[in-house]
């Protein structure tokens, strides 16, 4: 790893650490408790950034997949796959924090709301993505199939969202806050989103680097076998 990379990673780690501490402070100390829903509302500062990151992750997978099929460079596949892995983890967190928030506020664990349902469908699609990669007969085939699913799966997002939204129109729309977001709440949310985005970037760089290294090890093993 050259100096540039080390410097960039150092800056990212430092930034991520500072943002995370700031986010924790703001969520638990700085921001006032929302008066209608109480203390549970603070999970919002975790839930929303995680949801944002999972959509970002699948978008990156989509772009990485297109670039891989076009340029046939392994690095794009490594990015696409790493991003999908992080995306699945974050979507899982969305699907866990959503119900934790929903139960005390609405009295129900699950609502077939457009955002939650789209997250669930996305989770299913990208779990299938990871499954196909691990069940392909060769890594190169796995990369190619993964790229196809990464593209075909992502273009489903707007259609699923639209469909579920229309499907549920007869139900009362979910109200998050009666008064909208106050300035401290908005600032806390922004810091949290920034913190989780940096965390996402770090995880993808790490994971993609690992994959590139794995590929390198495979190549070395082949050479050694000669």
């Amino acid at each position: 790893m050259n100096g540039n990379h080390a410097l960039r990673n150092g800056i990212l780690w430092g930034l991520g650490f500072a943002l995370m501490i700031a986010a924790l402070y703001m969520v638990f100390v700085y921001v006032p408790t929302e008066k209608h829903t109480g203390i549970i509302q603070r999970i919002f500062y975790f839930h929303v950034p995680v949801a944002w990151v999972s959509f970002l992750a699948f978008f990156v997978t989509f772009i990485g997949s297109i670039l891989y099929l076009w340029k046939r460079q392994e690095k794009w596949d490594a990015v696409a796959c790493a991003s999908a892995e992080v995306g699945v983890v974050f979507t899982t967190l969305v699907l866990i924090t959503g119900p934790i928030w929903a139960k005390p506020v609405w009295g129900i664990w699950w609502t077939w709301d457009a955002r939650l349902t789209t997250s669930l469908v996305l989770w299913l699609i990208y779990v299938a993505y990871l499954l196909v990669r691990s069940l392909a007969t060769e890594p190169e085939k796995g990369a190619r199939y993964g790229a196809v699913i990464g593209i075909v799966g992502f273009i489903d997002v707007p259609v699923v969202f639209l469909t579920v939204n229309l499907w549920r129109t007869q139900h009362p729309t979910t109200i998050i806050f009666e008064g909208g977001l106050t300035t401290p709440m908005l600032m806390t949310l922004m810091v949290c989103i920034a913190a989780f985005t940096v965390l996402y970037v770090l995880l993808v760089i790490r994971s993609a680097g690992l994959k590139t290294m794995e590929a390198e090890i495979r190549r070395l093993r082949i050479m050694k076998a000669e």
Binding site: E138, P139, R218, I222, A225
Partner: protein, 245 residues
């Protein structure tokens, strides 16, 4: 279509530095091959030498990890459709649909290749392989040997100028296997370029204008028929395929 015969000095098959890696396994490790027009190249090699992979790459089915292939002077990446019209492959699988008759199979493939005057062409190729009496039987009901003959008929339905044969006599009894050679004589009246892999040293040496040995993904020996006497070839083969094991 495409019956324009390019300059005859152009090689029928020209492969440069072919490499193919499957996962952690290197099937081909830099193969160079040239075959002149109308020539028959026979490739020998032990199991796992990369013979099938090589033929699949030459016939556009598999993309090489590195290297290039030119058939009749055209790079196979440039005009795949034009290349595919000129070539054919007989594998150890017949590519026939068991539930269709031999005739229906030939008609299907003939139409896929836009063969003109298809009915007559089917009659012609079926007589070459001697299957006239079974033309309207389902391919699945034929014996292995007959299926292989039908597979030859399928392979030449569009009059390819280059024919790839991947162990065409494997799994056949000696009688059927001898028939394969006769058929090859019938369908190949000297105008077609043939690249063939086989285990059968005697027959291979008889058929080939030139001979190559592929071992562990590399061409380890190459000679024309004039350069080699049949008696020695067994020894040569053993020597080249044993070294380094």
């Amino acid at each position: 279509m495409n019956k324009d015969i390019p300059n005859s000095s152009i090689r029928a098959v020209e492969a440069r530095g072919l490499e193919k890696t499957f996962g952690e396994q290197r099937a081909l490790r830099g193969v160079d091959l040239t075959v002149s027009r109308g020539e028959c190249l026979v490739i020998f090699g032990p199991n796992g030498a990369g013979k099938t992979t090589l033929l699949k790459i030459l016939s556009t089915l598999v993309k090489p990890s590195a290297g290039s292939v030119r058939l009749d002077g055209i790079d196979i990446r440039d005009k795949p459709a034009q290349i595919r019209r000129r070539i054919s492959l007989v594998g150890n699988q017949t590519f026939l649909y068991d539930n269709l008759t031999v005739y229906e199979n030939l008609k299907f493939y003939g139409k896929m290749y836009d063969v003109a005057d298809l009915e007559n062409r089917i009659r012609e190729v079926i007589s070459w392989v001697g299957l006239e009496s079974r033309l309207h039987d389902r391919a699945g009901t034929l014996s292995r040997g007959m299926q292989q003959r039908a597979s030859f008929a399928r392979a030449v339905i569009h009059d390819p100028s280059i024919l790839f044969l991947d162990e065409p006599d494997v799994g056949l009894d000696p009688h059927a296997s001898a028939m394969v050679s006769d058929i090859l004589g019938n369908i190949n009246s000297g105008s077609r370029t043939v690249v063939m892999t086989t285990h059968n040293l005697e027959r291979g040496v008889e058929l080939g204008d030139s001979i190559a040995i592929l071992d562990r993904g590399k061409v380890v020996y190459q000679a024309s028929r004039e350069e080699l006497s049949k008696a020695d070839f067994r020894q040569i083969y053993d020597r080249y395929t044993e070294t380094g094991r």
